[in-house]
């Protein structure tokens, strides 16, 4: 069954008060259908505020989402400054690490990606003029992994090491979140000790260490820690059955995954790409695929709408276990 958590149905309550005062009536006046499907609000100095809704791009017009930039609400430098103050709670020092990473997580698990002018600061890059914002209105879809979970279990009912692959915006994180919720609530026969290494706070959407999304009853979250270090910390401290993490790609990630797998922990992770062939072009991913670390590879796409499972591969044999595309949830 597909339904949304109340916290996400209430994005208007969480996000609109943080927008510049001038923007609020414009967003509030959007038709219910647009508000329901709104995925991103993008703000750029001197440009019309743009929206992404149901995969379509448009601009914030008066009482509507419109295709033309003319007549759309234009963001000023003051608007961007006000947005920055609101999302950082007037406390840039308290969001230092997030600003270095280029995003801030809001109450409710929504993320604001930030870009602008950067300066180098002790080996890392710091944003000093924040002039581009992407407010991502992610929604938890309960049941997003209903049709996938049975295919991730082996003949003994154990969770297989799984890699979920898709281009951005196709539902990898939504699926990982629901897998965490289901495995942490007994979908594999009994509740497993699930640990989420949530480097970018996207899976659990933690605010002050508290998940804003439902990630299961027996799920622990290590929030904001780089994946490779996070996986090692979880291994040492939390005795997990399953580790879930997002967006693998670097060599350090691959090393940490190997450690976890060798320690008998099951891994469910995601990576950007359109296909296994594309993964093979990235050295760290190629190595992991060749070592047969992942027993299941789930390819997501958009052939039946975003979040379509295009096919599921046996990572050891390369054989397609499910070749016909199907929607993730029932």
């Amino acid at each position: 069954m597909k339904k949304e958590l109340p916290s996400h149905a209430r994005w208007e309550e969480d996000v609109i008060p943080l927008l510049p005062v001038r923007f609020r009536p414009w967003v509030e006046a959007l038709p219910a259908g647009v508000k329901e499907g709104l995925e991103e609000i993008r703000v750029r100095v001197g440009k019309p505020v743009s929206l992404i809704c149901g995969g379509e791009a448009g601009y914030l017009g008066e009482g509507k989402m419109q295709g033309a930039a003319e007549g759309a609400l234009e963001a000023t430098a003051d608007d961007c400054q006000a947005l920055f103050l609101n999302v950082t709670e007037h406390s840039a020092y308290a969001y230092d690490n997030e600003l270095k990473s280029g995003y801030i997580t809001l109450r409710g698990g929504y993320r604001v990606g930030i870009a602008g002018r950067t300066v180098q600061d002790n080996g890392s890059w710091r944003l000093i003029n924040c002039t581009f914002y992407n407010i991502r209105i992610n929604r938890q879809v309960i049941g997003a992994a209903d049709n996938v979970i049975p295919r991730l279990l082996d003949e003994d009912g154990l969770v297989c090491n799984t890699l979920i692959v898709s281009p951005p915006g196709m539902g990898k994180t939504t699926m990982l979140r629901d897998i965490a919720r289901q495995l942490g609530s007994g979908a594999a026969g009994k509740p497993l000790k699930v640990c989420v290494a949530d480097e970018r706070s996207e899976i659990a959407g933690c605010k002050n260490g508290i998940p804003q999304n439902d990630v299961g009853l027996t799920t622990d979250v290590l929030d904001g820690c780089p994946k490779a270090d996070g996986i090692m910390m979880i291994l040492r401290a939390m005795s997990p059955d399953v580790i879930i993490t997002d967006e693998l790609g670097r060599k350090e990630d691959a090393d940490a995954i190997r450690e976890a797998v060798n320690a008998g922990v099951r891994i469910i992770a995601s990576a950007h790409g359109n296909s296994v062939d594309e993964l093979e072009m990235r050295p760290a991913m190629r190595q992991m695929m060749r070592e047969g670390i992942f027993r299941r590879v789930v390819i997501l796409g958009a052939s039946m709408g975003r979040g379509t499972v295009e096919y599921i591969l046996d990572g050891h044999t390369g054989e397609k276990l499910v070749s016909a595309a199907f929607k993730c949830s029932g």
């Binding site: 400054q81 006000a82 007037h90 406390s91 308290a94 230092d96």
Partner: protein, 176 residues
């Protein structure tokens, strides 16, 4: 009879003026000391508890007595309205309103007020290294102003009271 009442009123008025001027000096000292101790607490809440400014102001308010609490908690309320106005503007308005309506804040000089507004303009808006400088700089300025306020109180408080009484007496004699 009317003359006696007038003379008494003039004397009382002058004496009260002297007492009020003296009290104003004392109020300035107490207010600056209250703000200094609040700002120390605020720094602890921001630095060690990692709280955002508004929450840090509330938390410091719970642990600090005195009139500074009212000022900063008012600022915290305004911040949480997400009006998009910077802290400097919000703080400046609150402080001006309190200077008009509360005796204890009315005792602050324009120079004191400007120092506090400058502090608020930098509050929260940068990384911790810059915040630390802002706190250190403001604490130093506050120390200087408190020392000056104490000296002024020590030197002038008694003098204002005496001048009030003596001025009242002088006018009373002239009116006789």
């Amino acid at each position: 009879m009317l003359k006696i009442f007038s003379i008494a009123a003039v004397f009382s008025g002058c004496a009260a003026l002297g007492v009020m001027s003296s009290k104003r000096l004392g109020n300035r000292m107490k207010t600056l000391e209250g703000i200094r101790s609040f700002i120390r607490r605020l720094e602890i809440e921001m630095r060690y508890a990692g709280l955002p400014v508004a929450e840090a102001m509330r938390s410091a308010g719970e642990k600090t007595a005195g009139a500074a609490r009212e000022l900063f908690e008012g600022v915290a309320d305004d911040l949480q309205n997400n009006s998009g106005e910077a802290i400097g503007g919000i703080f400046g308005k609150r402080l001006e309103s309190m200077r008009k309506n509360r005796d204890i804040y009315g005792a602050l000089t324009d120079r004191d007020a400007q120092m506090l507004v400058d502090f608020s303009k930098n509050l929260g808006s940068s990384d911790w290294a810059s915040q630390k400088n802002n706190f250190e700089h403001t604490q130093k300025l506050l120390e200087e102003e408190i020392t000056a306020a104490k000296e002024a109180f020590g030197k002038k408080s008694k003098m204002f009271r005496t001048l009030g009484v003596l001025g009242g007496l002088l006018l009373a004699v002239l009116l006789l």
